[in-house]
Symmetry: C2
Subunit: 135 residues, 2 copies
């Protein structure tokens, strides 16, 4: 996705497509690696020398508000961000720390006794050793 369509995408969601906003969105879109705020800041500061970490936080929270992006925690107390796409699970390798997107069938996780509950969101985190590291 190029900057033009990103700008359109943001506009559609009621967000004015400023330069930092476009770059942050593009970063999330191209590198699908569930970055932390620090990751984003450190990588974009070269491209945008005036960028501030506050702006990264503000922008991400704006994207979340607009339901373009969601955040989640793994075991560490540091949020990770990704563009909202189809439902999927996450697998983090305990050796290489890589986070994998795992397709996730639309299974019902609520047993019969809980069918009175309304589920709005589900998150599945798996931890273990990835195929690469097992070789």
């Amino acid at each position: 996705m190029d900057s033009l369509t990103i700008a359109e995408q943001l506009t559609v969601h009621g967000i004015k497509p400023s330069y930092p906003r476009i770059q942050i969105y593009k970063y999330l879109y191209t590198k699908k690696n569930h970055p932390t705020v620090d990751d984003i800041y450190n990588d974009l500061i070269e491209e945008i020398p005036t960028l501030s970490k506050t702006t990264v936080y503000n922008t991400l929270n704006l994207f979340i508000e607009a339901k373009l992006v969601k955040s989640f925690n793994l075991d560490k107390n540091e949020k990770r961000y990704e563009i909202i796409i189809h439902d999927h699970s996450h697998f983090q390798c305990e050796r290489c720390n890589k986070i994998y997107d795992i397709p996730c069938d639309d299974i019902n996780l609520l047993p019969k006794e809980y069918e009175g509950f309304k589920v709005n969101e589900k998150q599945i985190f798996l931890k273990g050793i990835c195929e690469e590291c097992l070789k």
Copy 2:
């Protein structure tokens, strides 16, 4: 479970059953409400006026090390703790904030393409509205 069997339980896992340790374990065991460190500290400080928050952290980390307890994050950057029992999911109500333990069948969450991955741990978080709040 009374203090005696808790003491035994801790001893079995190589942990000397001091008074704070017993009280913290008993707290987790009786109130199964996935407390934060703050919850535990604030509730136990009446019973143990000399308790320090550091001790709560140390004790919980000791329990985790001994695989008696596990911690997890919901959306907020604040860890919650519970005694390790059978595998189960968590449902947090967005209205009353109560956290429910949900029985979880031992389903395989990895599609065929990922069967080379070794899963050591899985966490399932559901968010929505609980039955009580829907009434």
